[in-house]
């Protein structure tokens, strides 16, 4: 069983960052990077499936610059078999549809049984890449998966999805398919120091979109939007600073909540 897990290296959001002055975007020098939280869970699903099968291959793929290699190495340390990074500078600022186009070329080459994406990335929060990738690959897809039971004999999986109001939707999907995985579906493992060291020896291939047959025209045709400007929001008004002891502040908060609830 071959499983492809597309992953993304994202900006650490609790750090201060700065916008670029000459073009729309965030200054990459002011950013700390980490692997997208959702991707920890989708990788864990893949690793557990491979372990349950006792065979197979897990391939992680990222569309990103050199900073993405740290995240890919982390995936290799946890147990992914090999990694692929696709990039060229013209991809900077690419929208999810363009990224999905590049991924489609890379993933399609692998002919996987299963593609496991995260529901969304924590920095851009579009929830679009996985879905668009399924369209490009013409795969059945299920979004926001919270449980998965793979039936090897039938070549199908029973999956649960989260709906509003606590409802669970139960689906059966034939493979190959693409699932977007929700956080909390499992408890992701961590890599010990030995695995981290050994991951340095695992294959990590880097290539350009053109190596996959995706030229600039194809990218432009796939793109759905482009960022025209990024500006910090105007400071809001109406904030009320509460001063005083903890109990006085708590009392005032309770008053405000009661006022708003009754209004």
């Amino acid at each position: 069983m071959k499983i492809v897990v597309p992953v993304k290296q994202v900006a650490v959001l609790d750090e201060e960052f700065e916008l670029l002055e000459d073009r729309p975007g965030v200054d990459p020098d002011a950013i700390d990077w980490e692997l997208n939280e959702w991707d920890d869970f989708s990788l864990e699903v893949a690793l557990r499936l491979r372990e349950a099968e006792g065979q197979g291959e897990v391939v992680v793929i990222s569309v990103g610059g050199e900073e993405s290699e740290e995240g890919l190495r982390a995936c290799l340390a946890k147990g992914a078999d090999r990694a692929l990074r696709v990039w060229e500078d013209s991809l900077e600022g690419a929208d999810p549809l363009a990224v999905a186009r590049v991924l489609a070329a890379a993933v399609g080459r692998e002919s996987p049984d299963l593609v496991l994406c995260g529901v969304q990335s924590s920095d851009a929060v579009n929830s679009a890449t996985g879905v668009a990738l399924a369209a490009h690959l013409d795969l059945p897809r299920v979004a926001v998966v919270t449980a998965l039971d793979y039936d090897a004999g039938a070549g199908a999986a029973t999956v649960e999805r989260e709906l509003e109001g606590g409802l669970i939707e139960l689906l059966r999907v034939r493979l190959p398919a693409l699932l977007t995985i929700q956080t909390g579906i499992n408890e992701p493992r961590y890599a010990n120091l030995r695995a981290i060291k050994q991951a340095k020896e695992k294959p990590l291939e880097a290539m350009a979109p053109s190596d996959l047959g995706v030229d600039e025209d194809a990218l432009a045709a796939a793109a759905g939007s482009r960022v025209r400007s990024m500006v910090p929001p105007d400071p809001g008004g109406g904030a009320e600073m509460l001063n005083g002891s903890a109990s006085a502040v708590a009392e005032r908060i309770a008053e405000i909540v009661k006022e708003r609830m009754s209004g």
Binding site: D32, Y190, K197, A246
Partner: protein, 735 residues
């Protein structure tokens, strides 16, 4: 990052007589165990605060004459020119960082037992100390009064010579000037007793004479307890409190205000389990609010939060934020506000471990939060600066994220180790602090004189600070819910393994009194509990509970407080003369006893259990074992002693071949896993190992500088040589 403009007021200069205080951060006088006889300790501990941005830093109480000798406790002394020489080192160090140096001139009266000098202290009336044992002062006639006032003058001149900028006439905590002012001490009928003016005369004359002597060059400060909390028999804020401030306001350049006295000075240095921050406001806050002074006022109250500081100054409570404990916990508190990183402040938890060492008399001060406190000179440790370890390429696995493990991993991270993994079996980091911080509150409805039984919630700051720091360290990974077996550790791929697996309470009654288990003690039964089981709520607890308290610190009494507060009928049994002896040193004992008494907890000292059976505990008096007693209870809590969880360490060490095969070069054990101890000592242990992880034998602590007299001709280098082989010594110490 620049500081938030809302904190600007904290950085505005203010005039203290002839001196300018550069900001509003002021380390009030507090003891550390250095005095004048450990000049390196004194200079570098105080100097660290100056480097960290405090605008003024003071000595501890500083004796002006051998007849005010506090031995066995350690004060500073300015008795002669050699003391001037040693204290000048501190002044020079502070001036390097543009801080003002303050000295608190002290004459203790009956509170000075003179155990070293064998002089006899003088006092306003012949009443023995309510703090010391059987110490009677000599009654002061007018010649004596003039003599002691001249001691203040001579000391102030020597203080100026040493380089001090602020000279105190210290009265607070009921020392000689306040003894004259307070009718609790002063029973005189001459012009130094009786009316307010007469009782204030001694202090006023001292201020006049010291001002005359050095007031052109030094700011004159006075530390004054505006309410000694004895009601009408002593100083009350609304009476002599504000009256005295007005009476001598022209003679001071700075008021340093407190409450309480020395016999229960936990009312001033309030422990967090009974007092919230800024707890002195109802008293000291009245002085400026009521317009009783035209002089700057500094006050204290475990104030660690910059927003609170701004509110205090903005509301006119104080002009200057005073701190003793918060400055020990974080010498760089002002700098962290100034640099726009208040989340890096290592907040005081109000455990009063620092104070305990002065109360014990002799040992250097320690701090739970700041393992480098007191180690600035003798070990060369800087709280904020770390050197990359020489063996930084090694991967380190720290097993267990309790106090020792958290601290060790954090310091290894700050020492730039290439990869540190902190792996914890539980749901969160913090170890025992996570349940201990839930102890100590009773029913919440009480009012114990001034404070309330708030519990140990502020102790959680031990975890909060380290969590924030660990999150920022990119070379440290924290993994939770992961219990590692010996095999897991062997295969982990770390070259260095640190075992910090903590400890557990004995379940069979093994204890320090009899060195044996107790017949019938068995915490696997559903009616016998260890203290952690009480907090975790895993067992039903009957109406009548016996708590066996053999430890002597907070655990047994905190369990008793909790259970009595929940309505149980609690009997507290200890082999010692009193429960929780160590809480006398942390100043928590008086409030604790008020709460235990209020809750109806029955305390049986000098009592030990010989047999436990369902429904009854059989006890005996330790001085007469034939004297038996029986307690009928449904539930027993065994707070007897703790046992290290050290199996992992010993299993790893027992198979040297496996260690070698797996590439593990060293296995260390720290904290309770090595030997159960107090939390500050666990944190110190973890810090110490990380500081010395690249020494020739990290398992053994390196020597530290001992400031004892060396016989014959010596230089400072003869003392400092102890640090020659220490890897992480800050350059300021290096020769």
């Amino acid at each position: 990052m620049a500081r938030d403009p809302k904190y600007d007021i904290l950085f505005e200069p203010i005039q203290l007589g002839p001196k300018t205080l550069k900001n509003r951060f002021y380390q009030v006088p507090h003891c550390i165990g250095a005095g004048s006889e450990k000049p390196g300790f004194q200079a570098y501990h105080r100097g660290m605060k100056a480097e960290g941005g405090w605008g003024a830093v003071c000595t501890e109480y500083c004796s002006i004459h051998p007849e005010s000798d506090d031995t066995h406790r350690v004060s500073a002394r300015i008795w002669d020119d050699d003391d001037v020489r040693n204290l000048a080192v501190m002044c020079d160090r502070l001036h390097t960082f543009d801080a003002l140096a303050g000295i608190e001139l002290w004459y203790g009266g009956p509170h000075a037992p003179c155990m070293e000098s064998r002089h006899n202290p003088r006092g306003p009336s012949q009443i023995p100390s309510d703090f010391e044992v059987n110490t009677h002062p000599r009654y002061m006639d007018k010649d004596d009064i003039a003599l002691v006032q001249q001691m203040y003058v001579d000391a102030s001149v020597r203080a100026r010579e040493a380089g001090f900028d602020i000279v105190y006439v210290y009265g607070a905590h009921s020392y000689l000037p306040l003894q004259f002012l307070s009718p609790f001490y002063n029973k005189r009928t001459d012009e130094y007793g009786g009316s307010f003016e007469n009782r204030a005369r001694f202090w006023k004359e001292c201020l006049e004479q010291v001002r005359e002597a050095v007031g052109d060059d030094c700011a004159i400060a006075s530390r004054f307890a505006v309410d000694t909390l004895y009601g009408p028999s002593s100083i009350e804020i609304g009476e002599d409190g504000v009256r005295f401030v007005e009476h001598v306001d022209d003679l001071v350049d700075l008021w340093d205000l407190t409450v309480g006295d020395i016999a229960e000075w936990g009312q001033n240095a309030g422990p967090s389990r009974f007092f919230e921050g800024n707890h002195e406001k109802p008293y000291t806050g009245q002085v400026k609010a009521g317009d009783h002074t035209n002089k700057p006022v500094v006050g204290v109250g475990r104030i660690t939060n910059p927003d609170t500081m701004v509110a205090i100054i903005g509301s006119g409570q104080f002009d200057i934020i005073g701190a003793a404990r918060p400055s020990i916990s974080d010498p760089f508190l002002p700098k962290k506000i100034e640099e726009g990183r208040p989340d890096d402040i290592r907040e005081c938890i109000g455990c009063n471990q620092c104070i305990s060492r002065w109360e014990i008399g002799g040992p250097p001060m320690i701090c739970t939060q700041n393992a480098t406190a007191g180690e600035e000179y003798r070990r060369g440790w800087h709280p904020e600066k770390f050197h990359p370890a020489a063996n930084r390429d090694k991967g380190v696995l720290v097993v267990g994220a309790g106090p020792a493990g958290m601290e060790c991993a954090m310091v290894l991270g700050k020492r730039d180790m290439s990869a540190v993994h902190l792996v914890e079996a539980g749901e969160e980091i913090g170890g025992c602090v996570n349940w201990i911080s839930q102890l100590g509150h009773s029913d919440g409805g009480e009012n114990l004189a001034r404070g309330t039984a708030r519990g140990l919630g502020e102790w959680k700051r031990i975890v909060n600070y380290r969590q924030i720091q660990l999150d920022k360290l990119r070379n440290v990974e924290v993994h939770l819910r992961s219990r590692l077996s010996t095999q897991d550790v062997l295969e982990y791929g770390a070259e260095i393994v640190v075992v910090a697996t903590g400890c557990h309470f004995a379940t069979d009654g093994l204890n320090p009194a009899t060195h044996a288990a107790i017949d019938g003690a068995d915490a696997s039964l559903d009616w016998q509990l260890t203290p952690d089981e009480v907090v975790k709520g895993s067992k039903q607890i009957g109406n009548r509970v016996l708590v066996l308290e053999n430890e002597g610190y907070y655990m047994g009494v905190s369990i008793a407080q909790k259970l009595a507060g929940e309505g149980h009928d609690v009997t507290l049994v200890t082999q010692m003369g009193d429960v929780a002896n160590y809480m006398e040193f942390t100043l928590e004992a008086p409030m604790l006893h008020r709460d235990l008494h209020r809750l109806g907890v029955k305390i049986h000292p000098y009592t030990m259990l010989e047999r436990i059976e369902p429904g009854a505990c059989h006890a005996y008096n330790v001085w007469n074992p034939a004297h038996k007693e029986q307690f009928e209870v449904e539930t027993v809590v065994l707070c007897t002693q703790r046992m290290s969880d050290d199996e992992l360490y010993h299993e790893l060490r027992s198979d040297q071949d496996a260690l070698e095969r797996e590439g593990i070069e060293a296995v260390y054990m720290i904290g309770d896993a090595a030997a159960p101890r107090m939390i500050p000592d666990c944190i110190f242990d973890g810090h110490r190992l990380a500081r010395e992880i690249d020494s020739s034998n990290p398992a053994m602590p390196l020597p530290f500088i001992r400031e004892r007299r060396l016989w014959g001709e010596v230089t400072n280098e003869d003392y400092d040589a102890a640090l020659l082989n220490t890897p992480d010594v800050v350059p300021m110490m290096a020769k």
